[in-house]
């Protein structure tokens, strides 16, 4: 019993141990509210020295690569970031990605629509901010149809789904047949 407890504790320690290969990098924006297609000053510090970083905007619906920077010998950089003009408005996270794919630093940014609207391309709900009313629609139109989304289920995911579903059927059938025999 003690061995099981020790093994579990060791496993938890190993899996829970935090790893920060890129230190506590920081990026700062001159302003956190920018219109699509606009430019914003960006600085970074406490990053890996003389390292190449990819900058990416991560949103709910998609990710947008927005350029690359190189830190100096002190692990700092300064640049002007130009946002894609067709980026949907909303809340995004700007991340600096190291060469190994890890996120070295991140900051939040609120992007408005390029047309200078409210920044909301996806309306919310009745009686709430972001809701479009029928007589003021210029962008999205009301539709009773379902959206045609590209849902990508990987082979691995299909495998997991198949295994879990078949296991449920098999375990259920086994329990019922055992109960019947008993």
């Amino acid at each position: 019993m003690k061995r099981i407890i020790f093994a579990t504790a060791a496993l938890l320690l190993v899996t829970a141990a935090p790893a920060y290969p890129h230190g506590g990098g920081m990026i700062r924006l001159a302003t956190t509210q920018v219109a699509g297609g606009g430019t914003v000053a960006l600085t970074g510090e406490k990053l890996d020295k003389s390292a190449d970083l990819a900058l990416e905007l991560r949103g709910t619906l998609d990710n947008y690569p927005v350029g690359r920077v190189r830190t100096d010998a002190a692990g700092k950089f300064t640049t002007n970031l130009t946002l894609p003009p067709n980026i949907p408005g909303g809340a995004y996270t700007l991340v600096a990605i190291a060469a190994d794919g890890d996120v070295a630093a991140r900051t939040d940014i609120d992007i408005g629509s390029a047309a200078g609207g409210s920044g909301t391309t996806m309306p919310g709900m009745a009686g709430n901010e972001g809701m479009h009313t029928a007589d003021q629609i210029s962008g999205p139109h009301a539709s009773a149809e379902m959206m045609q989304l590209k849902r990508t289920t990987t082979t691995g995911e299909w495998g997991v789904i198949a295994v879990l579903t078949l296991l449920s059927f098999a375990a259920g059938a086994w329990l019922l047949s055992r109960s019947r025999r008993a």
């Binding site: 996806m122 309306p123 479009h132 849902r151 109960s179």
Partner: protein, 348 residues
């Protein structure tokens, strides 16, 4: 280095009951060994238990979905798309949640119908029945709030109907009014109700329901010659088959999402459990949306009070007739609602 014990097959077999005793003792599993009526092992009597396992699936998948859902009205619809397109297994988990909710609503309806048919609500099981009616109502509330959380056209229209209904019900409907508070949106409050308030009420009612079933037993006159510990694996077996069915349905028929909602437009029909209300609205206007559920749930609530026969006497003919009419109106309303023409209700 530790000594490695290689137990023979016989020793391992001897250890098995000891280990089972260890677990049984610490989890007090012997408490599940109480006597029950053999009828409990029939599928018809297991519908309540299957509903419970369906609720567990809903809770597990709901917790997973809530890690990615954003109740901000501006971001809600996007976050559902995110779940469907970018979260690993997200589309399937959402499908499991959707199909589990449908299965639960069917199984709870069948369970209540069977209990009603067997008149299991009569003395001393009135409170057990009322707890079940309360659970049925809470499940409807959860289905409604779940629909709204999608923030698509159907969700938006459902919310507009609820807001209109809240105006009709006066102070009772205040929490469903967008003007209830300015500090947070109605969608956020409905999300809060869906993931905390309603599940808490649901679990409290389940606790009461189970306690009363344990204390009063099932409505069966036969001797209690079976055991709950034998009943449980069979129930679990059916529950796993239902889980497999939900998993297959979620994979083959994943639920979609409509376009973002536009206010002031009615062009969708509600989630199927609400189609009977939709049909009433078609014929009686918005007032029907409030009155129809009051009639149905009011009838279910008062039935143990008006049906108080002596042991062995049949149900009063008039009550049976009313029950049958309501049953067929409910089922017929849902079926008709599928085929009924689209109709504007707001302002009716």
């Amino acid at each position: 280095m530790d000594r490695i014990d290689i137990a023979s097959g016989a020793e391992a077999a001897a250890d098995a009951p000891r280990q089972r005793g260890y677990v049984h003792h610490r989890l007090a599993l012997h408490q599940l060994d109480y006597p029950i009526a053999p009828s409990a092992n029939k599928l018809a009597y297991m519908l309540g238990g299957l509903t419970f396992f369906g609720l567990i699936l809903l809770i597990v998948t709901g917790v997973l979905l809530d890690q990615y859902y954003n109740p901000n009205p501006v971001a809600a619809h996007d976050s559902v798309i995110y779940i469907m397109t970018r979260v690993p297994l997200g589309n399937w988990i959402r499908g499991l949640h959707y199909w589990a909710s449908s299965i639960v609503l069917v199984s709870v309806f069948l369970h209540m119908s069977y209990v009603f048919w067997r008149r299991s609500y009569i003395k001393p099981r009135e409170v057990t029945w009322w707890a079940g009616v309360g659970l049925f109502a809470v499940l409807f509330a959860m289905a409604f709030t779940g629909t709204v959380l999608r923030a698509d056209q159907e969700g938006g229209e459902a919310l507009e109907h609820a807001i209109a209904g809240s105006k009709m019900t006066g102070p009772m409907g205040a929490p469903l009014s967008p003007d209830f508070t300015q500090s947070t949106s109605l969608l956020s409050r409905l999300h809060s109700a869906h993931v905390s308030l309603l599940p808490l009420v649901l679990l409290a009612l389940i606790g009461l329901h189970f306690y009363l079933i344990r204390a009063l037993g099932l409505n069966a006159t036969e001797p209690k010659s079976s055991r709950f510990s034998d009943h449980l694996p069979k129930l679990l077996g059916y529950a796993l088959l239902v889980l497999g069915l939900a998993g297959a349905l979620a994979a083959v028929f994943p639920p979609g999402i409509g376009h973002p909602s536009v206010q002031g437009v009615e062009m969708t029909k509600p989630f199927w459990p609400f189609l009977w209300i939709y049909v009433v609205e078609n014929n009686f206007g918005m007032r029907g949306m409030v009155i129809a559920p009051i009639i149905i749930f009011g009838f279910l609530f008062v039935i143990p009070l008006v049906d108080r026969p002596r042991e062995g006497h049949p149900r009063h003919g008039l009550l049976t007739a009313i029950s049958l009419v309501m049953f067929f109106l409910y089922i017929g309303g849902i079926i008709y609602g599928v085929f009924a023409p689209m109709q504007q209700h707001m302002g009716m």
